[in-house]
């Protein structure tokens, strides 16, 4: 199990390694808004404040999307990233 800490509301969640962050957020009721859920709208953009290396590598779609926004490397799409270890998540849609 890995720990996911949503910083906005200080919400700490446990999930099996390899779970999609979107699923964690949905189930735990984290305050993150999802739009298309396919990695092309950017509504669920988050900053991985800690544990970036514990996140799955971006797939080509996510990589291309974030590149289009000139997003720094610690920004990810919550609907695309799976967590492999402990992470701190800061929602950016604020």
């Amino acid at each position: 199990m890995v720990k996911i800490h949503f910083l906005l509301e200080d919400l700490l969640v446990e999930a099996p390694a390899g779970t999609l962050l979107q699923r964690v957020a949905d189930v735990a009721g984290a305050d993150i808004t999802f739009g298309c859920r396919t990695g092309s709208c950017g509504t669920c953009r988050v900053r991985v404040a800690e544990g970036l290396t514990n996140c799955s590598e971006p797939g080509p779609e996510e990589r291309d999307f974030l590149k289009g926004l000139d997003a720094p490397a610690d920004q990810r799409l919550a609907c695309q990233v799976t967590v492999q270890g402990d992470v701190d998540i800061e929602y950016l849609g604020l």
Binding site: M1, K3, L8, E9, D10, L11, L12, V13, E14, A15, P16, T19, R23, V24, V27, A28, G29, D31, I32, T33, F34, G35, C36, R37, T38, G39, S40, C41, G42, T43, R45, G59, P60, E61, D64, F65, G68, L69, D70, G93, L94
Partner: protein, 1140 residues
């Protein structure tokens, strides 16, 4: 002394305006021209009416112009020849230039004379005139202008890339002969189409003329200043030369049979000065329709401008007639197609021998489709006239090919002929020092004259360089000659450190790949800026095709890692390294790095391993394949036209039913598998389905009566309250083209209606679809309803808001019959296939816990944010005063010519709506799909939309005074401010920030709520329906996706307008970031997470009077027609998307 060059460094130079306009204002008569046969020969008026020309020059100088253009636009022997005056060309140029000089000298401060050289009347690129004749004609004009004293040569109003190069050469040669150097200026004319007359875009122009070393590259004529912006921007970012801008006085209007240019001096000046500061323009003036009044009005503004500072960055590129292609591709390498080569391709050689020029052109086009970036072209063939063959082929090829060419020849006359035929910037392949440097020098001379890049092989008098040290040594010498002596840009020197075959087993070459790879690295490190290339497939000569593909792919891969920029390669045979079997890869890499060991020789292992294997990549001899194989291919490749002939042939001796069941459906199965594996994109799948449909239609009349090839039946519907069609229609397309009978009931179907249909048309399964979150609830209710009726028919559910957990848990619990989740159309197909084969029994519902799995909240810190006294979330700050709208109430925008594409989110369109996703493809392969499929598709639709009036975009938007009251917004009448029009109520988050849309508006004072409604009109919806009816699956799908995104783009546009009008646009981000809420405030639409209930659309349409633009509400609270969207706009800086 103040020369043009020094002045340009200090200030912006003001040129004159139109010459023709001024001459025609004097209404020249036949007498003025000197006879009826000479009527219209404006250049002749310099001699016949010199006083006019003098007056015109004076009027412009008096208006403040620093320089005037000579009256020599058509004064060259070719144009004057139409009046029988060729012989006067030189003299007219001398007269015009000296007359203008005389006027210039009569003014106080330095004034200049610019020798005008027009485009002439014949397009060299289209073969109207030969290179030599055009060059000779321009030479006479240049001689005259120089002898008359012109201070610069201005090659202007250029419509043809080929013509520019000839004219520049003529100017250079004239200057060399007279030993008098003046600046060379070039001005292209970009039409309203966005290209020059012959189709070149401005990047192609820049790439092609840049090596010629100009002083100025700018734009004149064609359009007014506004239309030039995009092209000026390109020049501003990339061109190393000064930029000039001489627009017309707007786009011409036809007023009572007279051409009128609409821009008066004031607006013209405003637009031109805006462009000047925006794009760093160094030279301003006017063209058609501009007068001394325009120039006079422009002068004070120009006076105030400082000399522009730009920081241009030019990517080294090659160019075709049409476009520029960067030599450094991201990701590397640039692929040079190798099949149009008489030495390398038997097919091409045969076509050449038969002089089948069209066949050779087709082969070139094929490589373009396969993803090549550049085309290597070699027509050297023993016993043939290579110069003539190059000329014949290029004259046909160039207008038809969008890729730049690599001229593959070592013969000087062939290269020169090819360069004369090529309007763009070519790459010459190649030079070397085999017989010393004489030949290399000659060819480098051609590079300078015609503006070309060159491939240089590491061969010298000792032969081919084999070690890294020798390779580097020859590379240094090539660099010194090409860059040091001839002044080529290092990026135009492409060094090939040579590849030798590893297939021979020859001891001498065992380490040759290592030497080549190391040399690449050394060359890149030591010679900054140079490019590198390899003929990669040489590495595998002598091996069988299957092993060649793998070895070539890995050599390419390691080459790129060592700094390889370009590769000569068969583009269709690029295989992603990730797809190579790991054992194959190990052996091949051992071969490349010569890792032999006792008893182990990778070459022998490779040969043994591949001895039985066939090349996996398709060959190009389709016609030789058996007909059934061709049918199979036809489906996979989606060839709906070509497949018909194959169907006819196959029907001659095959059973029609078998053709469908075994061949066609078999091929569709492969399509499904490839889609599932991420190897095939949705648009290609749809093409396959169209081919399938076409093939079946052709076969159907041949089927024996009673015969039924269909496997089963499914009834499809989008559930009540949901208008979303597309997902369901994709399922229809896929199932009906995979042998199932489909009845598609359409959208908004109440369960009662669906079940009635089912009674009349018993089916093997019911398919329910819906996009909205609400639809997932409706689906479950429908299942309840069916359960109460005791039904058992299997149900397949699909739709964006569904999840597998929900279907397999909640939905299965609601209904005892089988319930399946289909993530996409192919999963639906698999389930239908399993169902009719009796392979599935009713699956048990998943345990309720599965919805959460093992996800556990450990700690929920911080209590929820308290609500304020006004009942609003205290997380939202209410400190900033509301902005002032420019008006209260509603306005309508209806402009058919509104540019919907400006705010189009191409990423969302291509990746999401059109389904181009990379899946398991390599970056290179997917980049090729985007370039060759997705982007051209978008370009085609742009053209189609520009040609036909499919959209009637209309919008209404406005500003309303509001006040927040708890979870509601009270909307006041914009005129009678005390009267309440309506109250909008929104849901609130139950915990956490406890946000509600109303919180972004003040409860203390009157705030402003903006509302907007946009539609593409009924015509768009009708067109989508028509495409679907007519089985144009690909078109339907593409159109639907595009129209949906353009609706969004229009909404984005209106939202941007609202921000501007409210004065909150300062935080707007540029580019794609804008689409991810890159602005202050937010735009909320009903049906989305912050306000999920569609009911609100009713109040919104009432407030905006949507009926005025034909928008109505359906009974399920959705807006009709289809491509329509509405929104509430909040200006509050903390207003962002949130989920209730």
């Amino acid at each position: 002394m103040n020369t043009l060059e020094t002045i340009l460094r200090d200030k912006v130079l003001l040129l004159d305006g139109g010459m023709g306009t001024q001459i025609f204002a004097r209404k020249p008569t036949v007498e003025d021209y000197g006879g009826a046969a000479l009527e219209g020969c404006v250049d002749l008026l310099t001699e016949r009416r010199p006083q006019w020309i003098r007056e015109i020059h004076e009027s412009y100088f008096k208006a403040g112009a620093d320089a005037v253009e000579t009256n020599t636009f058509g004064a060259n022997p070719l144009v004057l020849g139409d009046f029988g005056l060729s012989g006067m060309a030189y003299e007219l140029n001398v007269q015009a230039a000296s007359l203008a000089k005389e006027v210039a000298r009569s003014f106080d401060r330095p004034r200049f004379v610019i020798g005008s050289v027009g485009p002439g009347t014949k397009l060299i690129t289209l073969g109207h005139v030969s290179y030599q004749d055009l060059l000779a004609s321009y030479r006479v004009q240049m001689d005259g202008l120089l002898d008359g004293g012109a201070d610069a040569i201005l090659i202007e109003t250029c419509q043809d890339l080929g013509q520019i190069k000839v004219a520049v050469r003529a100017a250079r040669e004239a200057m060399a002969a007279k030993q008098r150097r003046v600046p060379i200026w070039v001005q292209a004319t970009v039409e309203t189409t966005g290209t020059l007359l012959v189709g070149s875009d401005i990047s192609a122009v820049l790439t092609s003329v840049e090596p010629l070393g100009l002083d100025v590259l700018g734009l004149n004529c064609g359009t007014g200043p506004d239309e030039m912006h995009a092209h000026l921007q390109t020049l501003s970012e990339s061109s190393p030369f000064f930029i000039s801008c001489l627009p017309n006085a707007g786009l011409p209007l036809n007023v009572g049979g007279q051409v009128v240019y609409p821009l008066a001096p004031e607006p013209f000046v405003q637009k031109v000065l805006h462009a000047a500061s925006e794009f760093g323009i160094a030279i301003l003036g006017g063209c058609c329709g501009t007068t001394p009044d325009h120039i006079r009005a422009l002068a004070p503004g120009v006076e105030k401008l400082n000399a522009p500072k730009r920081n241009p960055k030019l990517e080294r590129s090659a160019a075709s007639l049409y476009q520029s292609v960067a030599l450094k591709q991201e990701p590397a390498p640039l692929i040079v197609g190798e099949r149009t080569n008489a030495n390398g391709s038997k097919k091409f050689r045969d076509l050449l021998a038969a002089e089948d020029w069209d066949g050779m052109t087709a082969l070139a086009k094929e490589q373009q489709r396969e993803g090549a970036h550049l085309l290597d072209l070699c027509v050297a063939f023993v016993g043939r006239d290579e110069v003539r063959d190059a000329d014949e082929l290029l004259s046909r090829l160039i207008p038809q090919i969008t890729l730049p060419l690599m001229i593959d020849s070592t013969e000087f006359p062939v290269i020169e002929k090819a360069l004369q035929r090529s309007p763009g910037k070519c790459v010459i392949n190649s030079i070397n020092f085999e017989d010393g440097d004489a030949k290399a020098r000659a060819i480098l001379g051609l590079c300078k004259t015609y503006g070309a890049a060159v491939v240089a092989l590491t061969i010298d008098e000792r032969g081919m360089a084999k070690t890294r040290g020798q390779k580097l040594e020859v590379a240094r010498r090539l660099y010194a000659l090409a860059v040091g002596e001839f002044g080529l840009d290092p990026g135009d020197l492409i060094i090939d450190p040579l590849t030798f075959t590893l297939g021979s087993g020859d001891e001498e070459f065992r380490g040759s790949a290592i030497e080549t790879l190391e040399a690449l690295q050394l060359i890149k490190a030591e010679l900054p800026g140079v490019m590198t290339i390899l003929g990669v497939s040489n590495v595998s000569f002598g091996l069988n095709p299957a092993s060649r593909h793998v070895l070539n792919a890995l050599m390419l891969y390691h080459g790129v890692k060592h700094g390889l920029d370009m590769a000569i390669f068969n583009a269709s045979k690029v295989i992603p390294v990730a797809k190579i079997n790991p054992e194959d890869r190990r052996i091949v890499e051992d071969l490349i790095y010569d890792r032999r060991a006792e008893g182990y020789d990778p070459l022998k292992s490779l040969m043994a391993r591949f001895s039985q294997r066939k090349a996996a990549v398709a060959d190009d001899h389709r016609a030789d394949l058996p007909v059934l194989e061709r049918l199979h291919r036809g489906i996979l490749d989606g060839e709906k036209q070509a497949i018909l002939a194959d169907v006819d042939e196959a029907l001659k001796d095959h059973d029609p039913l078998k053709l469908i069941n075994e061949v066609l459906l078999g091929a569709m199965k492969v399509v499904g598998e490839r889609f599932g594996a991420g190897e095939m994109q949705l648009p290609f799948v749809l093409e396959s389905a169209e081919a399938m449909k076409a093939a079946i239609k052709r076969i159907e009349p041949h089927l024996p009566r009673e015969s039924n090839y269909q496997k089963g039946r499914i009834l499809l519907a989008t559930v009540k309250g949901d208008v979303h069609d597309i997902g369901k229609n994709l399922v229809d397309i896929i199932l009906s083209n995979n042998g199932f009978e489909v009845k598609n009931l359409g959208i908004k179907q109440p369960i009662e209606t669906i079940l009635k249909e089912l009674e009349a048309w018993p089916a093997d399964a019911l398919g329910l679809s819906g996009l909205l979150v609400k639809s997932t609830v409706i689906m479950k209710e429908n299942l309840h309803f069916m359960e109460e009726l005791g039904l058992k028919v299997p149900v397949i559910l699909g739709g964006a808001a569904l999840t597998r957990d929900y279907v397999e848990g909640d939905c299965r619990r609601a209904y005892m019959g089988p319930v399946f989740y289909a993530e996409d159309a192919f999963e639906g197909l698999r389930q239908m296939q399993a169902l009719v084969a009796g392979e599935t029994s009713a699956p048990a519902p998943a345990p309720a816990a599965s919805a959460t799995g093992e996800i556990k909240v450990v700690h929920r810190g911080g209590a929820s944010v308290p609500l304020s006294v006004t009942g609003q979330s205290s997380w939202v700050r209410q400190d900033a005063p509301p902005p002032k709208p420019p008006f209260w109430g509603v306005r309508e925008l209806s402009d058919d010519s509104v540019d919907l594409f400006e705010f189009l989110d191409e990423f969302a369109l291509i990746r999401n709506r059109w389904g181009f996703s990379q899946g398991s493809q390599s970056d290179e392969a997917f980049a090729a799909v985007l370039r060759d499929k997705a982007e051209p598709q978008l370009a085609r639709w742009k053209d189609r939309l520009a040609a036909g009036r499919l959209f009637q975009p209309k919008a209404r938007y406005g500003y309303f005074p509001v006040r927040a009251e708890g979870d509601s917004l009270r909307v006041f009448d914009p005129v009678f401010a005390l009267q309440t029009l309506t109250i909008l109520t929104f849901p609130r988050q139950a915990s956490g920030r406890r946000l509600c849309l109303a919180d972004f508006f003040s409860a203390e004072r009157t705030d402003v709520l903006a509302l907007q409604l946009v539609t593409l009109g009924q015509g768009a919806a009708d067109h989508a329906a028509k495409l679907y009816r007519e089985d144009g699956y690909g078109d339907y799908f593409a159109f639907h996706g595009l129209a949906t995104e353009l609706t969004e783009a229009y909404a984005e546009r209106v939202h941007a307008r609202i921000r501007r009008e409210l004065g909150i646009a300062a935080r707007d981000l540029a580019g794609r970031a804008l689409f991810a809420q890159g602005y202050q405030g937010s735009r909320y639409s009903y049906g989305y997470p912050a306000c999920p209930d569609l009911e609100g659309n009713g109040q919104l349409l009432d407030l905006l009077q949507g009926a005025a633009i034909g928008v109505h509400l359906s009974e399920s609270h959705q807006m009709d027609p289809e491509y329509t969207t509405s929104a509430l706009v909040a200006w509050h800086p903390q207003a962002r998307y949130f989920t209730v």
